[in-house]
Symmetry: C2
Subunit: 347 residues, 2 copies
């Protein structure tokens, strides 16, 4: 069949153009910079941001948290001492990240996880010279559990978020790492209030409508595991790690775009030029509202004491109404338009 008159090409073109119009409309109607609020919002003011699904930052808002004054290296060492914590270990600082294999397949690789006494893990993070990268990122409401000794240092929830959303947080998490960890582009179905306590985080954000540009693919699940012949007598920071496919053979859809990787701009059918990342750097005491379903990639910088530390509050997103159903629709149409590759690994 003549390519130029292939009706599927025509149809894809028209879809491609609908998706480009979506991005153009979004760009026309929204700023590509983040709003900075002078003070914490009222519940209603916050709800306007939730309704628009738009992020904001409040500088210094968390300076009133006890954590801001207290969380020095020595305080954390004394408070958490040798209590066991879950440790994520990766060769490249790449926990839960797409990893291209030699044959071209891309796997979604989870970190090697082990348990260490806090002080031992914290020393590895602050030292930062091991072959592997260590990150405390157990994301399961760990402030109630592993880090309960720190719970009194931060508020149990964010009052304006609780009132606006009519619910408490689903999870409050502590994150402790160093600048070798980088979080790959992904999204969460949560309204997220992110509080930087030590060091800094650099967020690269993309709205849910950018789904056509993020290179979502069905990736086979994998996990880093210690190589069998290289584990003897080595600490987690030095052990040889290799990615191994999960036994269940399950695949999950996941973005493969690195929005800071300059060489990739211009792919995904020309859509990427229309995806305008919003960038924000959170310093110590800054607070970010990261709306549900926003794609985010995160890098971090250590503070004076060679670690970075943050707390985040996850509130369940609202599934009723139009927004969630429309966001899923945009994703389905985008994946149908971009050559229907969602069912397979990228070739």
């Amino acid at each position: 069949m003549d390519r130029d008159t292939n009706p599927q090409n025509e149809s894809s073109k028209s879809l491609n153009s609908a998706i480009k119009d979506l991005l153009r409309d979004y760009n026309d109607l929204n700023s590509s910079t983040i709003d900075e609020l002078p003070t914490e919002p009222s519940p209603l003011e916050f709800h306007r941001y939730v309704a628009q699904n738009r992020p904001f930052v409040i500088r210094n808002a968390a300076k009133s948290f006890s954590a801001y004054d207290r969380w020095s290296a020595s305080y954390l060492t004394k408070t958490l001492a040798n209590s066991p914590v879950c440790v994520a270990v990766t060769p490249l600082g790449n926990a839960d990240a797409p990893l291209r294999q030699e044959n071209g397949d891309i796997w979604l690789v989870k970190p090697h996880e082990t348990t260490l006494p806090f002080n031992e893990a914290f020393d590895l993070i602050r030292d930062g010279t091991g072959k592997n990268t260590v990150y405390l990122q157990s994301q399961d409401g760990n402030l109630k559990d592993e880090y309960a000794a720190l719970a009194e240092d931060v508020p149990p929830d964010i009052p304006w978020a609780r009132v606006a959303l009519g619910r408490g947080p689903d999870a409050v998490n502590v994150w402790i790492g160093n600048e070798r960890s980088k979080t790959a582009l992904h999204k969460d179905p949560y309204e997220n209030v992110y509080v930087q306590v030590r060091g800094a985080k650099r967020f690269t954000l993309l709205p849910p409508v950018a789904v056509a540009g993020v290179g979502e693919r069905l990736l086979k699940g994998a996990r880093y595991v210690p190589k069998q012949d290289a584990t003897e007598g080595l600490g987690v920071e030095e052990v040889g790690l290799e990615a191994r496919l999960d036994g269940d053979g399950a695949s999950v859809p996941f973005p493969t775009w690195d929005p800071d990787g300059v060489t990739e701009v211009g792919e995904e059918g020309g859509l990427r030029e229309l995806c305008r990342p919003v960038r924000v750097r959170l310093g110590e005491g800054d607070m970010l509202y990261l709306p549900a379903l926003w794609f985010h990639q995160v890098e971090q910088e250590c503070g004076n004491e060679e670690f970075c530390c943050a707390v985040n509050y996850w509130y369940d997103m609202e599934y009723s109404g139009s927004f969630y159903a429309l966001a899923v629709f945009a994703r389905n149409v985008a994946n149908a338009a971009i050559g229907g590759t969602m069912g397979e690994n990228e070739q």
Copy 2:
């Protein structure tokens, strides 16, 4: 080309299935009945409905309006007397409605408009036996203008809506008619608080995601005008009217589905079964929040004094954020999926 392997068919099928999934998701996540609030909401409670783009009704909420006590036929007659008002006249009670022509084309026909003293127009509405239907529906913020004498009988805005949305109403309109007027399915880019004062209104509502099912077509604009040989000596209620195309030849996209027309269910590529109309009847003193971009068809019933009367508050919708851009996208994709007929009249 073999129909079964026609790639455009395949592509349309996949789009059609994305649209059906959108409607299924929406139906799964949302009720097909309307919420009834026991009392007026707080601004934050209202904003949650705005954010979800979901309607609600509050029974008896407008019984506190002076209008509810005052707006008898004799009060309106005395208060507005012979002040001139804009009158919409149609042969079928069909102002701003699609009208199928003998050749199959569908035109969007505006009413014949003229100016009459209020009392004369009001008598024609209450009498209701003329050949034509008369409706006072000037929709341009007429409470400030033609009906300024009634303005003190209703609040200048709805306090919880003003606070929630951070703005006053863009327009407050008075509507006076009888049960012969029916408003065709359409949508408005406004958050709408609708207050029934006399008689009743029956709304049939469809959310913005139902756009694929409403049979939107590009309709040529037309208007009813008196037939040249039939105007002599006749009042507006008896004059012969015929639809005539607008001189500018412009077309506008407009729904052609009558969701209460049983015979049409099942068209639009099988999507219509998934479009679940939400029905609500507003009685005297009831208040409806009709969210922006919801399709609505309206019929009315006269009260004891043979007229119905309502007031509505239109607040500008929020265009920033994701919702508006996604709603436009859903519409564009829906129209591309349903055979690409948006550029032409239905054949």
